[in-house]
């Protein structure tokens, strides 16, 4: 089972690799949040996750965060 955004703690940097809903995926893509790593600014317990990319902060609801699959840029190339 791959990890999801809801598992990520504040301060970590991850890549959003799969967003199931097509429209939401397009909206995130458009804003550049699928281009590379994003920083998790805050994760409110059982609440929204706030991610940052190039100075833009985006809040994603808990349900959505539980659906977004992530990858931690480890040994693999980050952007």
């Amino acid at each position: 089972m791959s990890e999801v955004l809801a598992d990520v703690g504040s301060g970590e940097s991850v890549r959003l690799v799969d967003v199931p809903d097509g429209d939401t995926r397009a909206r995130l893509l458009r804003l550049g949040f699928l281009d590379g790593t994003v920083e998790c600014r805050h994760h409110i317990r059982k609440g929204p996750v706030i991610v940052r990319r190039n100075g833009t902060d985006l809040a994603l609801g808990a349900d959505l965060a539980a659906e977004i699959a992530i990858e931690r840029p480890g040994l693999e190339a980050s952007d």
């Binding site: 097509g22 804003l31 409110i44 609440g47 985006l58 809040a59 349900d63």
Partner: protein, 634 residues
């Protein structure tokens, strides 16, 4: 462009042939740029068929139109559909780009250029970019985009002479990287570049239009192209954005600013909750106490009640001849319940106008400072449970002030489903400040335990109804997806302009509606309809253990909630009866103004359902309470 005129505006007021649209992401300073460019005649109206307001003005030989802030041209929500429509019809576009968010904003810019729309870029917030350690090479950006780029600082009015000079140079590159995808479209298709671009991106409204033309019929599917193509194109455009920002932008990241630290404090529930409560307290004091109680009391009770109404009454009585057939007319104009020239004017000018202005002021401050999305983050978890997301926090806050106003703000909560839930909760379980004031007074005589009981019952009803609607309404609630714009001190000019425009539009729409309602209610009153309703209510009043004159209170409640509460102060009731009566009139139907707003914002069917639902809920809860008090022997 005919499409830009809303109801109530004069289509001939601006007689320019070409349309210049201001397009940009949310919070990039579009409205300030609009204010700088607009030469005369600013007109706000709803975009036809929507609840989104657009502003029109004159600029040279252009008709200048503002658009709702969007991150791209598509149709993900109502704002985007309006912007998409305006862009498709515009002759040229000023694309306002936030220099501190180049990477986010250039997607829209490149999309406009892909669409072949003549564009000038206003590179705004150059001052903030500098403060943030972001250096943008304007000439290189102009070169990379192939259209004029003018650096501006909108709030200081800097760069506008150059912007005005260069708007006639608006252009789009002959050809962009999107061309390769046009091959995916049927050869025989005749469409403009803008339409082709949207079509390969899977734009459904356009595909349907083309479909009707008989060019394409693919098993009834609305899309002309493969479903995955939109993402491929968006991905390609993002790559182009990255390659541009890579060459024109140099970032030396600075330390977290004060604004960022404030933002962190607001989002963290531990610190954010007290901050939010303090702000709500302040807003409540401003709107609920200062304006709703003091100002409205003075204006409505003293100025209009003591001087205006008697003057109009005697004027009309003197003017109209004494005769039998004129009496109904006189009644319509000056009766004490909802006379067209007396009480209706008193409501609209004395109550509604000050409240409307106060609310728009408060909302504009919250909007301008970036507080709203942070409140949404804070409340998202709780609101999720009743089928709403954090954005619904605004109508709920405003509702405690005035439900009529709150119904309008349900526009911001997202999908139709969420609007329905929040409107229903507002109509049912949220008392307005005017009513709350009277209720607090009555409760004070009963003791604190009743007060908590009252609040507890309202919260339970709110939760149960929310859960019920969440389970029964079709579809799924949308998750919160919201940008958190930088926090900044609100700018007075911006706030006053927004408040003025919104209040003006509200009045233009509200006055005819309230006038018509007044005439209907007065007519009903004249033929004895209201008295008949009061008699018909007997079974219900006895169900909740109240005396027959409670029917009179309910009739008042049909018109205005605080009237109902106020009417109860004169009745001889036991503590239990006062308590039940107050719960019933709180859960009872929204006031007539709020109903008119619900009718306008939603539709006749939901308005009627909500109205009937209020009766059912109010009397079921009241009946249960009466039975419970009976068992306890109180």
């Amino acid at each position: 462009m005919e499409g830009c005129h809303g109801a109530g505006s004069d289509p001939d007021a601006i007689d320019a042939d070409s349309t210049l649209a201001l397009v940009g992401c949310p919070n990039v300073g579009k409205s300030v740029v609009f204010g700088e460019l607009a030469e005369q005649y600013v007109d706000v109206s709803n975009y036809p068929g929507t609840t989104v307001d657009t502003t029109l003005a004159e600029f040279g030989e252009y008709k200048l139109t503002d658009t709702p802030g969007v991150y791209g041209v598509s149709a993900f929500n109502e704002e985007e559909r309006v912007t998409r429509e305006i862009v498709l019809e515009a002759d040229a576009v000023v694309n306002v780009v936030d220099a501190t968010h180049l990477d986010r904003d250039l997607f829209l810019t490149l999309q406009l250029l892909d669409m072949g729309i003549p564009t000038v870029v206003a590179l705004n917030m150059m001052d903030e970019a500098e403060a943030d350690g972001i250096d943008v090479d304007v000439d290189a950006l102009e070169e990379a985009l192939g259209v004029p780029v003018v650096p501006t600082v909108a709030i200081d009015g800097k760069g506008f002479d150059e912007l005005r000079d260069r708007i006639p140079e608006a252009t789009a590159p002959e050809e962009t990287a999107i061309e390769e995808y046009y091959d995916e479209l049927p050869d025989e298709l005749e469409a403009t570049r803008a339409e082709k671009t949207l079509l390969v991106e899977g734009d459904e409204p356009l595909a349907r239009k083309v479909d009707v033309g008989g060019v394409m019929a693919d098993g009834g599917s609305p899309a002309l192209v493969e479903p995955g193509l939109r993402e491929e194109i968006y991905g390609q455009r993002r790559k182009r954005v990255q390659s541009i920002t890579g060459t024109v932008e140099e970032v030396t990241r600075t330390e977290d600013s004060i604004a960022e630290r404030v933002s962190d404090l607001m989002i963290n529930p531990l610190t954010g909750t007290p901050i939010a409560l303090a702000m709500l307290g302040l807003i409540y004091y401003f709107i609920g106490d200062l304006v709703a109680q003091r100002l409205v009391d003075t204006l409505e009770g003293e100025v209009l009640g003591v001087y205006y109404i008697p003057a109009v009454e005697s004027f009309i009585s003197d003017l109209l001849p004494e005769s039998g057939w004129i009496e109904p007319l006189e009644f319509l104009l000056i009766n004490d319940n909802l006379g067209l020239l007396t009480v209706t004017v008193q409501y609209v000018i004395g109550t509604l106008l000050p409240l409307v202005i106060a609310f728009y002021l408060a909302i504009s401050v919250l909007e301008d400072s970036g507080v709203l999305p942070r409140l949404a983050v804070l409340t998202d978890r709780g609101l999720n449970r009743i089928g709403l997301n954090g954005r619904a926090v605004v109508p709920m806050i405003v509702g405690v002030g005035c439900v009529t106003m709150a119904v309008i703000t349900t526009r911001m909560v997202g999908s139709k489903r969420e609007r329905t839930i929040s409107t229903a909760l507002l109509g049912l379980a949220v008392p307005c400040s005017a009513q709350l004031g009277v209720i607090m007074g009555l409760m004070a005589g009963l003791g604190l335990i009743y007060w908590f009981g009252y609040l507890g019952i309202l919260l339970v009803v709110l939760g149960v109804v929310g859960l019920f609607l969440d389970r029964t309404l079709p579809g799924q609630s949308e998750s919160l997806v919201t940008e958190l714009p930088r926090m900044r001190a609100p700018r007075p000019g911006n706030i006053l302009r927004k408040t003025y425009n919104r209040a003006k539009m509200f009045l233009r729409e509200a006055i005819p509606l309230f006038g018509a309602t007044a005439v209907v209610v007065s007519a009903l009153d004249y033929v004895g309809g209201l008295a008949a309703i009061q008699n018909g209510l007997r079974p219900l009043t006895s169900l909740v253990g109240m005396p027959a004159d409670f029917g009179q209170i309910l009739v008042l409640g049909l018109i205005r909630r605080d009237f109902a509460a106020a009417g109860m102060t004169d009745m001889a009731l036991s503590s239990a009866q006062v308590f039940i009566g107050l719960v019933v009139i709180t859960l009872f139907v929204p006031c007539i103004l709020a109903m008119v707003m619900i009718f306008k914002e939603r539709d006749a069917k939901s308005a009627l359902l909500m109205w009937v639902g209020s009766w059912v809920t109010a009397f079921s809860v009241g009946g249960v309470l009466a039975a419970a008090f009976g068992v306890l022997g109180l």
